[in-house]
């Protein structure tokens, strides 16, 4: 059996060290589908280490806001992940209403990332920033209606409880709404983390990018912070989605952890498969898709009213 202290250490390790691995797994999956060998699983770690050691090129136009972008967005993600339960293990921090802190921390990160992009004065980065904040705004209701479903089902506003053991039994009573929430959240995850079909991190045309174009001018350690922050963010969304979809609490800590990690891996592979098989949506089609996702999760809430 794992002791509490050990679990906490494990929790911290999973929270802060695991995230880049998800990216590696996705890349690996895509390579596999494409019939390539692909980069090693740990490539994201190597990239980070390289970036931290590299020198930087900074635009003459920029001010301190440019550097604050990566710092604040990473800091908000780092604080946010402390409130997320990883599998059956409760979060490290929590209070009633921390779910809102989570939403607004992402908002803070977004604010500074987009501002940093605008600080360069580049038309492309401005375009990216505009897309980022617009799509995120439209994704917000979808995410939030889902949270509300969980609040109503569990009667709590604390992420640890909302995604806690009660959720398992709730699936039996309210499977349809919860399923809809999971679908909506998958879409939110893909949007917020700039995945296909909403964005394509591997594209080479700045005009069509969303997230990547915002960070075009960042380099060196600052870019490292951005990459790590993006990985953290993916991990947070993934952890929430996995827990909502697989609310299994066996009571055995080791099993619970394994279930969670397996869920994460499955999600990463699923994202990889998505990216390999789907084409990118037309840019103007994205808002419609997001509004649709929002309506779906609103419908989930209304289903609860029966």
């Amino acid at each position: 059996m794992l002791s509490d202290a050990l679990q906490t250490v494990l929790h911290l390790l999973v929270a802060f060290l695991l995230p880049p691995l998800l990216g590696g797994l996705i890349a690996r999956t895509k390579a596999f589908v494409a019939g390539r060998v692909g980069p090693p699983l740990l490539q994201p770690y190597y990239d980070l280490a390289r970036l931290v050691r590299k020198g930087s090129v900074i635009s003459k136009t920029t001010t301190w806001v440019f550097k604050a972008g990566p710092v604040v967005s990473l800091a908000s993600s780092m604080l946010a992940i402390l409130f997320i339960p990883l599998g059956a293990h409760g979060p490290l921090l929590g209070f009633s209403g921390d779910v809102l802190l989570l939403v607004y921390l992402f908002g803070l990160g977004r604010f500074f990332t987009a501002s940093a992009a605008l600080d360069t004065g580049s038309a492309f980065e401005g375009m990216g920033a505009a897309r980022e904040v617009s799509f995120a705004a439209l994704a917000e209701p979808a995410f939030f209606f889902g949270l509300l479903c969980l609040c109503r089902i569990t009667g709590s506003f604390e992420l640890g409880t909302m995604l806690g053991p009660q959720l398992g039994s709730a699936w039996i009573a309210a499977s349809a709404p919860l399923a809809m929430v999971c679908v909506a959240w998958l879409i939110v995850l893909l949007v917020e983390n700039s995945r296909v079909p909403f964005d394509d991190p591997r594209t080479h045309l700045e005009l069509t990018m969303v997230h990547e174009v915002m960070v075009l001018d960042h380099s060196g350690p600052a870019f490292g912070l951005i990459q790590y922050g993006a990985a953290l963010k993916l991990q947070i969304y993934a952890a929430i989605l996995v827990r909502a979809a697989l609310p299994i609490t066996t009571g055995n800590a080791l099993t619970d952890w394994l279930v969670f990690l397996a869920g994460l891996a499955a999600l990463a592979i699923a994202i990889g498969l998505c990216e390999s098989t789907l084409a990118r949506l037309k840019l103007t089609g994205i808002p419609k898709f997001l509004v649709g996702a929002g309506l779906a999760s609103a419908f989930a809430v209304i289903l609860l009213a029966r």
């Binding site: 900074i58 003459k60 806001v65 800091a75 209403g97 921390d98 908002g107 360069t120 492309f124 350690p221």
Partner: protein, 651 residues
Amino acid sequence: MTQVLLVLAILLALGSGVPALLGARDSNRRQRLGAGLVVAAGVFALCAVAVSALESAGILDATVTAGWLMRACGLDGMQRWFLVPIAILGPCAAVYGTGYWPQASHPENGRKVSLFLGMLVAGLMTIVCARNTWPFLFGWEAMALAAFFLVATEDDNPDVRQASWHYLVATHFTTLSLFAMFSLMRAATGSYDLGPLPASISVSLSNGLFLLALFGFGIKAGVFGLHVWLPGAHANSPSHVSAILSGFVLKIGIFGLIRVLLWLPHPQLWWGGVILALGTTSALYGVVAALGQHDLKRLLAYHSVENIGIILMGLGVALLGRSLGRTDLLILGLAGALLHVWNHCFFKSLLFLAAGSVVHAAHTRTIDQLGGLLRAMPWTGAAFLVGAVAICGLPPLNGFVSELLVYLGLLRLTTHQTGLFWLAGALAAPVLALVGALAVACFVKVFGAVFLGEPRTHAARHAVEAPRSMRVPMAVLGGLCLAIGLASPLLAPLLDGAVSMWTPHAHVRLLAPLGSVSLAALALVLIIALLAFWLAGRLRKTGSTRAVTWDCGYALPTARMQYTAASFADILTSLFDWVLKPVTHLTAPAGRFPRRATFSSHVTDIALDHAIYPLAERGFELLSRLRGLQGGRTQAYIVYIFAALIALLWW
């Protein structure tokens, strides 16, 4: 004692413009003296708050006041809560004014601004501490008229004239509905003293009073549909005036609503529903309309509509809680609304002051003519950034704390088990989240377009930082935003005092995680500091070079290539064009050698341009048709006389 201090504060504020009025048109010294008087008034008001708090806690007994004065004014928990922000904001605006609108450079209207600014502050203070209909209405009109003259400061500009006219009509309709409301209340209680109405009054009277209060105070607060005066007035007045308008004049509408709602017996469930719905609509409309604006101050003004919406959402939850008998909803909703009153007061006035510095430096309010000001104006830029982060409700600043309380109220409403009222919460909360995200989009747009990147015009390129008299008030307000974000539990006693007016012995901290929020905010600040420290260290170690912005290989980027604010918001505004109803003016390029081609677009106000104007036009048309009655013919006039006579005899 409290009363004496209050009267002193009000008189000091009221008279603060007199030295300037009696002096030369261009005397900066007199103006500074006036600002000093307003500061003194603020200090006295804060002292009054402290004394009354001590008195009500039983620590101090300093009742030395005559009876009539005790009946005329005083401070209970709610009044204390509302007096503090104006006691801070008034002096800040007055001091700012000495740098922003010095009489020496505005001899034609500088004295007017000084005089009415003091009157405005005095009026606001009077309203807050009034306990009787007469001082309330006197203060109300002093506030309303002073604000009118301030809005009309530059009355040789037609835009200003129009804005001041809209404001004046709106505020007079408020006054008239207050007349009706107060005289009805007097009829019910038999006294002009303000206080709870007897439970013996009928439900329909109570409903009528609710509607009157909602209409009257709603106009003042700028609730959606009644907000028509708000954007123009805020945009066209001097910025320190806009700061008070947005920071506190709107809140006085909320103040009135909160007080009257408390006094009304038979609270109906639909009251809360209506207010919640209005709040949600206002919040959403405010932010959407703000996204479409090209004028910096107009944009901020629409955000006031948004924030008033958030406050009303809290108030709606509180009312629903009151009707449902759920004290927790009441406390959270009301505390959220009240705290947001403070917060909005501080960050919005901070934003207006910062916007004022921008206007002062660059002489334009058009967002797309600014840019890159952060380098020339680091303090102003930082102040604006603080305000922007706060208004978006982002941690670690104050906006988050109050929005959290409102959210908690909504979420608790969502978990209410009986009936279908919980759906109201379930529908409102995600809208609030959407509003928050849209606000982020909007303020990224503004901050980016105004302060970041390259200057777009000559004026923006040659901007200079504001003088110290303007920076200090901004620093005070910004500091307050940060302080409330980091140490909200310190406010709990004062907030409890206010909330206890609605439900006795309220303890906000039992329901709201103020401590945890503060800790989280502190942790966030700490993490940011550590990361910043690390990044600075790394950058120093690995070295960095300066280059032009990477523009996909284009080597000579110019400021005109930057993404404009209008383009930035286009995705969202085009999504909402059914409510913004933009008007476009296009001169298309034509011919082989096209000359000048232009394109411009501006969004209209759905209530003003698509409801009020057409309606008023119709009404005036109808009245004009009756003008023939006075057609100049004596014969007709004599027919009128006999017609009246026959009607009276026939009766």
